[in-house]
Amino acid sequence: MTGSAEEQELKDRLRLIENMIIEGQQTTQRWGWAFVFWGVAYYLAIAWSTLGKSEWAWPVTMIVASLLAGILVSRKASKHPGTTIGRAIGAVWIAFGISIFLLLCSLGASGRYEPHLFVAIIGAMLGGANATCSMILRWKMQFACALVWWTSAIIGCFGSETAGSVAFLLAIFFCLILFGIYCMVSESRKRGLSGRNRDEAHA
Protein backbone atom coordinates (compact mmCIF):
# COMPACT_ATOMS: atom_id res chain seq x y z
CA MET A 1 0.00 0.00 0.00
CA THR A 2 1.35 3.46 -0.88
CA GLY A 3 1.73 6.24 1.68
CA SER A 4 -1.24 8.24 0.41
CA ALA A 5 -3.43 5.12 0.30
CA GLU A 6 -2.49 4.36 3.93
CA GLU A 7 -3.24 7.94 4.89
CA GLN A 8 -6.64 7.71 3.17
CA GLU A 9 -7.34 4.44 5.00
CA LEU A 10 -6.60 6.06 8.37
CA LYS A 11 -8.81 9.05 7.51
CA ASP A 12 -11.63 6.66 6.51
CA ARG A 13 -11.36 4.94 9.90
CA LEU A 14 -11.59 8.27 11.74
CA ARG A 15 -14.62 9.30 9.64
CA LEU A 16 -16.29 5.96 10.33
CA ILE A 17 -15.85 6.43 14.11
CA GLU A 18 -17.24 9.97 13.90
CA ASN A 19 -20.25 8.95 11.75
CA MET A 20 -21.15 6.02 13.97
CA ILE A 21 -21.00 8.12 17.15
CA ILE A 22 -23.31 10.70 15.50
CA GLU A 23 -25.58 7.84 14.37
CA GLY A 24 -25.82 6.58 17.96
CA GLN A 25 -26.51 10.05 19.35
CA GLN A 26 -29.22 10.74 16.76
CA THR A 27 -31.38 7.91 18.08
CA THR A 28 -32.77 10.33 20.66
CA GLN A 29 -34.16 12.65 18.04
CA ARG A 30 -36.85 10.49 16.40
CA TRP A 31 -39.82 11.91 18.24
CA GLY A 32 -41.49 14.04 15.55
CA TRP A 33 -44.61 11.82 15.64
CA ALA A 34 -45.15 12.66 19.34
CA PHE A 35 -45.54 16.39 18.61
CA VAL A 36 -48.09 15.72 15.84
CA PHE A 37 -49.88 13.18 18.08
CA TRP A 38 -50.27 15.68 20.94
CA GLY A 39 -51.25 18.46 18.53
CA VAL A 40 -54.10 16.29 17.21
CA ALA A 41 -55.07 15.29 20.79
CA TYR A 42 -55.25 18.98 21.84
CA TYR A 43 -57.39 19.86 18.80
CA LEU A 44 -59.73 16.92 19.53
CA ALA A 45 -60.11 18.01 23.16
CA ILE A 46 -60.77 21.64 22.11
CA ALA A 47 -63.34 20.55 19.48
CA TRP A 48 -65.09 18.23 21.95
CA SER A 49 -65.19 20.78 24.78
CA THR A 50 -66.36 23.60 22.45
CA LEU A 51 -68.90 21.75 20.31
CA GLY A 52 -69.96 19.11 22.85
CA LYS A 53 -69.89 21.54 25.81
CA SER A 54 -68.59 18.69 27.94
CA GLU A 55 -66.45 19.23 31.03
CA TRP A 56 -65.07 15.72 30.57
CA ALA A 57 -63.55 16.52 27.15
CA TRP A 58 -60.09 17.54 28.41
CA PRO A 59 -59.55 14.95 31.16
CA VAL A 60 -60.84 12.05 29.03
CA THR A 61 -58.89 13.05 25.88
CA MET A 62 -55.69 13.68 27.83
CA ILE A 63 -55.87 10.40 29.80
CA VAL A 64 -56.61 8.37 26.64
CA ALA A 65 -53.84 10.21 24.74
CA SER A 66 -51.38 9.65 27.62
CA LEU A 67 -52.14 5.92 27.69
CA LEU A 68 -51.79 5.65 23.90
CA ALA A 69 -48.55 7.66 23.93
CA GLY A 70 -47.23 5.47 26.76
CA ILE A 71 -47.87 2.29 24.73
CA LEU A 72 -46.29 3.78 21.59
CA VAL A 73 -43.26 5.10 23.50
CA SER A 74 -42.64 1.78 25.30
CA ARG A 75 -42.83 -0.09 21.98
CA LYS A 76 -40.39 2.33 20.36
CA ALA A 77 -38.11 2.41 23.39
CA SER A 78 -37.64 -1.37 23.32
CA LYS A 79 -36.32 -1.09 19.75
CA HIS A 80 -34.03 1.89 20.31
CA PRO A 81 -31.06 2.11 22.66
CA GLY A 82 -31.11 4.46 25.62
CA THR A 83 -28.82 7.47 25.76
CA THR A 84 -28.16 9.96 28.54
CA ILE A 85 -29.58 12.81 26.43
CA GLY A 86 -32.65 10.72 25.63
CA ARG A 87 -33.21 10.07 29.33
CA ALA A 88 -32.81 13.78 30.14
CA ILE A 89 -35.35 14.79 27.49
CA GLY A 90 -37.73 12.03 28.53
CA ALA A 91 -37.50 13.25 32.13
CA VAL A 92 -38.42 16.81 31.07
CA TRP A 93 -41.58 15.65 29.26
CA ILE A 94 -42.64 13.17 31.94
CA ALA A 95 -42.25 15.87 34.61
CA PHE A 96 -44.20 18.30 32.42
CA GLY A 97 -47.00 15.74 31.89
CA ILE A 98 -47.35 14.97 35.60
CA SER A 99 -47.27 18.67 36.58
CA ILE A 100 -49.86 19.74 34.02
CA PHE A 101 -52.14 16.79 34.84
CA LEU A 102 -52.07 17.45 38.61
CA LEU A 103 -52.49 21.19 38.19
CA LEU A 104 -55.39 21.09 35.73
CA CYS A 105 -57.19 18.30 37.62
CA SER A 106 -56.85 20.29 40.85
CA LEU A 107 -58.08 23.50 39.20
CA GLY A 108 -61.02 21.61 37.67
CA ALA A 109 -61.94 19.88 40.96
CA SER A 110 -61.64 23.07 43.03
CA GLY A 111 -63.82 25.03 40.59
CA ARG A 112 -61.10 27.65 40.12
CA TYR A 113 -60.49 26.79 36.48
CA GLU A 114 -60.92 29.54 33.92
CA PRO A 115 -59.83 29.84 30.23
CA HIS A 116 -57.22 32.61 30.74
CA LEU A 117 -55.49 30.58 33.41
CA PHE A 118 -55.62 27.43 31.24
CA VAL A 119 -53.86 29.10 28.27
CA ALA A 120 -51.34 30.84 30.55
CA ILE A 121 -50.41 27.64 32.42
CA ILE A 122 -50.16 25.33 29.39
CA GLY A 123 -48.33 28.01 27.35
CA ALA A 124 -45.80 28.73 30.11
CA MET A 125 -45.16 25.06 30.91
CA LEU A 126 -44.86 23.98 27.28
CA GLY A 127 -42.55 26.96 26.72
CA GLY A 128 -40.42 25.81 29.64
CA ALA A 129 -40.27 22.17 28.46
CA ASN A 130 -39.42 23.17 24.88
CA ALA A 131 -36.78 25.66 26.04
CA THR A 132 -35.13 23.05 28.30
CA CYS A 133 -35.04 20.49 25.48
CA SER A 134 -33.73 23.07 22.99
CA MET A 135 -30.88 23.90 25.39
CA ILE A 136 -30.01 20.21 25.90
CA LEU A 137 -30.09 19.57 22.13
CA ARG A 138 -28.76 23.03 21.16
CA TRP A 139 -31.68 23.30 18.74
CA LYS A 140 -32.74 26.82 17.78
CA MET A 141 -35.93 25.67 16.04
CA GLN A 142 -37.26 24.20 19.28
CA PHE A 143 -36.31 27.34 21.17
CA ALA A 144 -38.42 29.29 18.64
CA CYS A 145 -41.34 27.00 19.62
CA ALA A 146 -40.68 27.86 23.28
CA LEU A 147 -40.95 31.57 22.41
CA VAL A 148 -44.29 30.98 20.64
CA TRP A 149 -45.65 29.09 23.69
CA TRP A 150 -44.47 31.82 26.08
CA THR A 151 -46.09 34.45 23.83
CA SER A 152 -49.40 32.54 23.96
CA ALA A 153 -49.08 32.42 27.78
CA ILE A 154 -48.62 36.20 27.94
CA ILE A 155 -51.59 36.75 25.58
CA GLY A 156 -53.58 34.40 27.83
CA CYS A 157 -52.81 36.67 30.81
CA PHE A 158 -53.34 40.09 29.21
CA GLY A 159 -55.62 39.47 26.21
CA SER A 160 -59.33 38.75 25.91
CA GLU A 161 -60.64 35.19 26.08
CA THR A 162 -60.90 35.09 22.26
CA ALA A 163 -57.34 36.41 21.84
CA GLY A 164 -56.04 33.81 24.29
CA SER A 165 -57.89 31.00 22.49
CA VAL A 166 -56.63 32.10 19.05
CA ALA A 167 -53.05 32.36 20.38
CA PHE A 168 -53.36 28.87 21.89
CA LEU A 169 -54.78 27.35 18.66
CA LEU A 170 -51.99 28.98 16.61
CA ALA A 171 -49.31 27.81 19.06
CA ILE A 172 -50.63 24.22 18.79
CA PHE A 173 -50.54 24.45 15.00
CA PHE A 174 -47.02 25.91 14.75
CA CYS A 175 -45.31 24.23 17.71
CA LEU A 176 -46.91 20.78 17.68
CA ILE A 177 -48.35 19.99 14.22
CA LEU A 178 -45.95 21.94 11.98
CA PHE A 179 -42.88 21.42 14.18
CA GLY A 180 -43.69 17.69 14.43
CA ILE A 181 -43.97 17.36 10.64
CA TYR A 182 -40.67 19.27 10.28
CA CYS A 183 -39.03 16.84 12.76
CA MET A 184 -40.39 13.81 10.91
CA VAL A 185 -39.09 15.12 7.55
CA SER A 186 -35.62 15.85 8.96
CA GLU A 187 -35.59 12.43 10.70
CA SER A 188 -36.34 10.66 7.41
CA ARG A 189 -33.50 12.64 5.77
CA LYS A 190 -31.15 11.52 8.55
CA ARG A 191 -32.24 7.92 7.98
CA GLY A 192 -31.09 8.36 4.36
CA LEU A 193 -27.69 9.55 5.59
CA SER A 194 -27.39 6.61 8.00
CA GLY A 195 -27.76 4.31 4.98
CA ARG A 196 -24.50 5.77 3.69
CA ASN A 197 -22.84 5.09 7.08
CA ARG A 198 -23.93 1.44 6.81
CA ASP A 199 -22.14 1.18 3.47
CA GLU A 200 -19.01 2.64 5.05
CA ALA A 201 -19.07 0.05 7.87
CA HIS A 202 -18.90 -2.66 5.22
CA ALA A 203 -16.53 -1.05 2.71
Binding site: I17, E23, G24, P81, A201, A203
Partner: protein
Protein backbone atom coordinates in the same frame (compact mmCIF):
# COMPACT_ATOMS: atom_id res chain seq x y z
CA UNK B 1 11.66 9.95 15.15
CA UNK B 2 9.46 8.54 17.95
CA UNK B 3 8.07 4.98 17.69
CA UNK B 4 4.74 4.91 15.91
CA UNK B 5 1.91 3.22 17.83
CA UNK B 6 0.38 -0.03 16.62
CA UNK B 7 -3.34 -0.14 15.95
CA UNK B 8 -5.31 -2.53 18.17
CA UNK B 9 -6.17 -5.45 15.82
CA UNK B 10 -9.37 -6.29 17.74
CA UNK B 11 -10.82 -2.86 17.02
CA UNK B 12 -9.23 -2.33 13.61
CA UNK B 13 -11.79 -4.42 11.67
CA UNK B 14 -14.28 -2.01 10.10
CA UNK B 15 -17.42 -3.67 11.44
CA UNK B 16 -15.96 -4.07 14.96
CA UNK B 17 -14.82 -0.43 14.87
CA UNK B 18 -18.32 0.66 13.76
CA UNK B 19 -19.94 -1.41 16.51
CA UNK B 20 -17.69 -0.06 19.25
CA UNK B 21 -18.21 3.54 18.03
CA UNK B 22 -22.00 3.05 18.00
CA UNK B 23 -21.96 1.56 21.49
CA UNK B 24 -19.83 4.44 22.77
CA UNK B 25 -22.72 6.83 22.02
CA UNK B 26 -25.49 4.86 23.75
CA UNK B 27 -26.00 3.29 27.17
CA UNK B 28 -26.92 -0.10 25.70
CA UNK B 29 -28.20 -1.35 22.37
CA UNK B 30 -30.19 -4.31 21.14
CA UNK B 31 -28.77 -6.77 18.59
CA UNK B 32 -31.43 -5.85 15.98
CA UNK B 33 -30.68 -2.13 16.35
CA UNK B 34 -26.95 -2.75 15.80
CA UNK B 35 -27.80 -4.92 12.78
CA UNK B 36 -29.99 -2.16 11.30
CA UNK B 37 -27.36 0.55 11.92
CA UNK B 38 -24.50 -1.44 10.39
CA UNK B 39 -26.47 -3.30 7.70
CA UNK B 40 -24.67 -6.49 8.69
CA UNK B 41 -25.92 -10.08 8.53
CA UNK B 42 -26.90 -11.90 11.74
CA UNK B 43 -23.98 -14.34 11.47
CA UNK B 44 -21.29 -11.76 10.80
CA UNK B 45 -22.61 -9.38 13.44
CA UNK B 46 -22.80 -12.16 16.05
CA UNK B 47 -19.25 -13.26 15.28
CA UNK B 48 -17.81 -9.73 15.50
CA UNK B 49 -19.69 -8.98 18.72
CA UNK B 50 -18.36 -12.22 20.20
CA UNK B 51 -14.78 -11.13 19.41
CA UNK B 52 -15.42 -7.81 21.15
CA UNK B 53 -16.98 -9.66 24.10
CA UNK B 54 -14.01 -12.04 24.35
CA UNK B 55 -11.66 -9.05 24.43
CA UNK B 56 -13.73 -7.61 27.29
CA UNK B 57 -14.77 -4.56 25.27
CA UNK B 58 -18.52 -5.23 25.33
CA UNK B 59 -20.82 -6.89 27.86
CA UNK B 60 -23.90 -8.83 26.82
CA UNK B 61 -27.21 -9.26 28.65
CA UNK B 62 -30.03 -11.53 27.51
CA UNK B 63 -33.56 -10.95 28.74
CA UNK B 64 -37.22 -11.26 27.78
CA UNK B 65 -39.36 -8.20 27.05
CA UNK B 66 -43.07 -8.94 26.52
CA UNK B 67 -42.15 -12.63 26.09
CA UNK B 68 -39.73 -11.78 23.28
CA UNK B 69 -36.00 -12.54 23.71
CA UNK B 70 -33.78 -9.50 23.66
CA UNK B 71 -29.97 -9.38 23.53
CA UNK B 72 -28.51 -6.15 24.83
CA UNK B 73 -24.92 -5.02 24.35
CA UNK B 74 -23.11 -2.27 26.20
CA UNK B 75 -19.58 -0.98 26.06
CA UNK B 76 -17.36 -1.76 29.06
CA UNK B 77 -14.88 0.70 30.54
CA UNK B 78 -12.09 -1.42 28.98
CA UNK B 79 -13.80 -1.00 25.60
CA UNK B 80 -14.06 2.77 26.04
CA UNK B 81 -10.40 2.95 27.00
CA UNK B 82 -9.40 0.80 24.01
CA UNK B 83 -11.42 2.96 21.59
CA UNK B 84 -9.88 6.15 23.02
CA UNK B 85 -6.37 4.69 22.65
CA UNK B 86 -7.21 3.55 19.11
CA UNK B 87 -8.34 7.07 18.10
CA UNK B 88 -5.20 8.59 19.64
CA UNK B 89 -3.02 6.08 17.78
CA UNK B 90 -4.88 6.84 14.52
CA UNK B 91 -4.30 10.56 14.96
CA UNK B 92 -0.62 10.01 15.76
CA UNK B 93 -0.20 7.83 12.64
CA UNK B 94 -2.02 10.40 10.51
CA UNK B 95 0.22 13.16 11.88
CA UNK B 96 3.29 11.10 11.05
CA UNK B 97 1.95 10.36 7.53
CA UNK B 98 1.39 14.07 6.86
CA UNK B 99 4.90 14.99 8.10
CA UNK B 100 6.67 12.45 5.84
Amino acid sequence: MPDLPELNPVIHGKLRLALLSLLSAVEEAEFTWLRARTGSTDGNLGAQLMKLEEAGYVAVEKKFVMRKPQTLYRMTSAGREALTEYVQALKQLLGAAIKT
